[in-house]
Amino acid sequence: MTKRFDSLVANDGIDLVVEPGQIHCLLGENGAGKSTLMNVIFGLLRPDEGEMLIDGEPVWFTNSGEAVRRGIGMVHQHFMLVPVFSVAENVVLGFEPTKSFDRLDYAKARDDIRRVSKEFGLEVDPDAIIEELPVGLQQRVEILKALDHDAQLLILDEPTAVLTPQEIDALMTIMRSLADSGKSILFITHKLKEVKEAADVITVIRQGRVVGTAQPTDSEGTLASLMVGREVILTVEKEVRSPGDDVLEIRDLVVRDDRGLPAVNGVSLDVRAGEIMALAGVQGNGQTELVEALAGMRFVESGTITLRGRDITNKTPREILDHGLGHVPEDRHRNGLVLSMSVADNLVLNTPRRAPFARHGSRNLNAVRDNATQVVRDFDIRATSIFEPVSSLSGGNQQKVIVARELSRPLTFFVASQPTRGLDVGSIEYVHRQIVRQRDEGNGVLIVSSELDEVLSLGDRIAVMHQGKITGVVEPTTSRETIGLLMAGVSEEPARA
């Protein structure tokens, strides 16, 4: 199967065979073409070449409804669930049982769901409202939805990204029992550990091509090198340093989210000079709001934030930046860059009104240009011109623009939220080196990441956040299981049971 987007070949002659009763892992880096492949199978995109056979019969779907009817179910990375609907309404949507006058037959819907739940051991209350359920259960509803539509092939697109380690274990069990009952599962991921744990067969794709198949018994190193095409160092090289005094002190911080609920609920945290504090946790447990409060982008309800002895609570972002805070925001498209503006302009976004980039309220474009030429060379940003809009750069280079901008002025503290999300291995290495360099220069560093590997390899200390609270601050030598329990809200003391 081949799929092109203009000149870009996203999928180049992909061959894939999935057998019944099998968990088939599709392993590849971000941007390798996994999602494109899935979307073609599920009828969301049309292929340019190739064929697909279901039980020997050639098919292509023009919309996902047809795919569902032919027994393909997909659990998307971002759930396809209507938050304000009940479980039952979501499950039957598109395939509703009805009575006279087009009325919905809720009784039948509930019975069906209970039957399918029982058959596959997926307990969910059919009348629960989706947005009130925890993420793990929402995912269960997605799987239930596919099974209720009688799916024979279940596609799971990066299903573990939003789950705690314990929820991941539960998912693995569910996947295994589904496979045992004869369903086929296509499991897409870029996490090596999960692949080894779950897969019967592994197909690795890179840059739109199948580069090989592997066995779950192969080592992580073998899988990784297949995935990225070269040997990779999975740890960050850094020397041991002894940290200095506290630079950032957060005390009893309470911050609300967009819905007005407390997202950060009484957090106290210290970060010392010359130290990388890594903030771990499943996404959506208050990390985003904590960083936004730190950068002055979100109102602090109560508590204080002190940076180098000065209170920066509820100061404007400009005041905070001027006090030496460098900030790489989580969502680079929304908060990090002005996409339609040039690389050169984006590189001075945080200092546009300062000399030498501006004088007496008018911009000094020569200085902006010289700065951009210099920075693009220093930070190895791949752009055809410093005047092209930053939107035309690849994700990795966009991230480099932000990192370069934040680091090209004297800092006292550096905060980076999900600094390597969606980046290729080369860019990740680069960003990691920059972060370590900041630490070595004696600045405090706070890293927020939902990748446990990144947290473990970067952090000098690791703080774990769960439901707006810090559940523990541990050394990077701590086991994954312990951190996993902290991420699930089990506190540091040994369990009492």
């Binding site: 979307n39 599920f42 969301l44 919309n63 996902s64 409804g65 047809e66 569902v68 009817r69 997909m74 998307h76 759930f79 396809m80 669930l81 209507v82 938050p83 304000v84 609907f85 309404e89 979501n90 039957v92 949507l93 598109g94 395939f95 509703e96 009805t98 006058f101 087009d102 009325r103 919905l104 539509h149 609300r256 967009d258 819905r259 007005g260 979100r298 109102f299 309800e301």
Partner: protein
């Protein structure tokens, strides 16, 4: 439009500090206090108000006669004010989960009611001037009916995720086509069909530009209103003025329902109305049933909340939106004909922002047909009073009353009182990726 701006989540506001329900309860209490102090203590101790319940629009005699009721103004206003204060206190203390908005609606209606009592007061018991409540209710019901059509149109479109700000334009189109068809064919049914067609056509333009070309729905809506306002003035000048036979007086005749229309006080308001009124009641029930009980409604709401989820199970998002926007346009078009049938004639500018008030009613009614009815009653009474208070010689500037629906809407959308939550994908263009 303030409506669009209020939809993006912002930083925490006052309401989140206090709790929305409490602020709502406080507002009800404040209205009660205002009534008690201004209308109650503000009128002299001996003053009285006389009210009658005479069903002016019932041609046949009614078997009941309530006569004139004379009440002490100060005492009545104080009692009603205290009831609201109690109601507000109840909301603040108990914080009920449901029905808070309905209680607020009651407070609004009490406010208008006591305003009438206060303005109609005389220095002592007197039969000379009395206020005919039934007449006010009947007059208001005409405005409310038109508003319900518009709000329903908004509900149809926005539940599917398209903002229809063109309701005003669809009113104008319906009224214009309606008067010509009613004058030439002498049939309100044909006029209604014509109005529905023009409304549907304008809805189609909105849908086409918003769904095919992903234009900003609010801008397209405003363009349609502006276009219809200009077009109707032009056609009025060029066609209706020189050929008055196309714009005859066409008041829709009331059809009294036997027995029901003779219920004291409210019978003439609800059961001695034109066909447009009964059709409106039927439509409210139909849309309400359709949206919340049927497969069609589930799909519409899914499309308005999470179009990608709907598409992932094979629902054609664009088609659902087309159908709903065109149907919604047709409903607003009929509303325009109904407006013409209440006014009797078409005149440019007569709708005077009623379409926007209907949109406000949809928001106040939280995107539900039943809520739209409550909002339309409240807004209908205040619009009617604003236009007719001069007849009752009320010393309040009518502009204040005209602002009433908008003040409430601003309070609601800004989240100062109550909680409104529009469909999540409302106004957002949908693109298959």
């Amino acid at each position: 439009m303030t409506i669009a701006a209020a939809r993006t989540p912002g930083p925490p506001t006052v309401r989140q500090h206090f709790g929305r329900t409490r602020v709502m309860g406080l507002s009800i209490g404040v209205i009660g206090l205002f009534i008690g102090v201004v209308f109650g203590l503000g009128s002299r101790a001996g003053s009285h108000t006389s009210v009658t319940w005479s069903p002016v629009n019932l041609s046949s005699a009614v078997p009941w006669h309530l006569g004139t009721l004379t009440v002490p103004t100060r005492l009545s206003c104080l009692i009603l004010g205290l009831i609201l204060v109690a109601l507000g206190a109840e909301v603040v203390v108990r914080r009920p989960e449901r029905g808070v908005m309905a209680r607020f609606g009651v407070a609004g209606i009490f406010f208008l009611f006591t305003l009438i009592l206060w303005t109609g007061r005389t220095l002592g018991p007197s039969q000379v001037s009395s206020i005919n409540f039934t007449a006010i209710l009947i007059g208001s019901s005409g405005v409310a009916m038109v508003l319900v059509y518009g709000s329903l149109s908004g509900v149809m479109c926005e539940r599917a995720g398209v903002v229809n700000i063109a309701i005003e334009g669809q009113y104008i189109g319906g009224a214009l086509v309606g008067t010509v068809l009613a004058s030439t064919t002498h049939s309100f049914i044909i006029a209604a069909i014509g109005g529905a067609a023009i409304g549907a056509g304008l809805g189609w333009i909105l849908a086409f530009l918003a769904l095919r070309y992903m234009s900003d729905q609010i801008i397209v809506g405003v363009v349609i209103v502006t276009m219809m306002a200009g077009l109707s003035s032009y056609l009025n000048l060029q066609v209706l003025s020189p050929y008055p036979q196309y714009n005859l007086g066409n008041l829709a005749p009331p059809l009294a329902i036997p027995l029901l229309s003779k219920i004291p006080i409210l019978g003439p308001v609800f059961f001695n109305q034109s066909g447009f009124f009964y059709a409106m009641m039927l439509l409210v029930a139909l849309v309400s049933f359709g949206l919340f009980k049927t497969r069609w409604g589930l799909r519409v709401r899914a499309v308005g909340e999470h179009p990608k989820a709907a598409a992932s199970v094979g629902i054609n998002v664009v088609r659902v939106r087309y159908i709903n926007v065109v149907l919604g346009g047709a409903i607003a078009g009929v509303g325009g004909v109904a407006f013409m049938a209440v006014q009797g004639q078409f005149q440019p500018g007569y709708t005077s922002g009623l379409g926007y008030i209907a949109l406000a009613g949809m928001i106040f009614g939280r995107w539900r047909p039943s809520g739209a009815v409550v909002a339309s009653v409240l807004f209908g009474i205040s619009v009617y009073l604003a236009e007719n208070l001069q007849t009752y010689q009320i010393p309040v500037p009518t502009e204040i009353l005209q602002m009433f629906p908008f003040l409430i809407t601003i309070a609601v959308v800004s989240g100062l009182i109550g909680r409104v939550r529009p469909p999540a994908a409302d106004g957002l263009p949908y693109q298959r990726d």
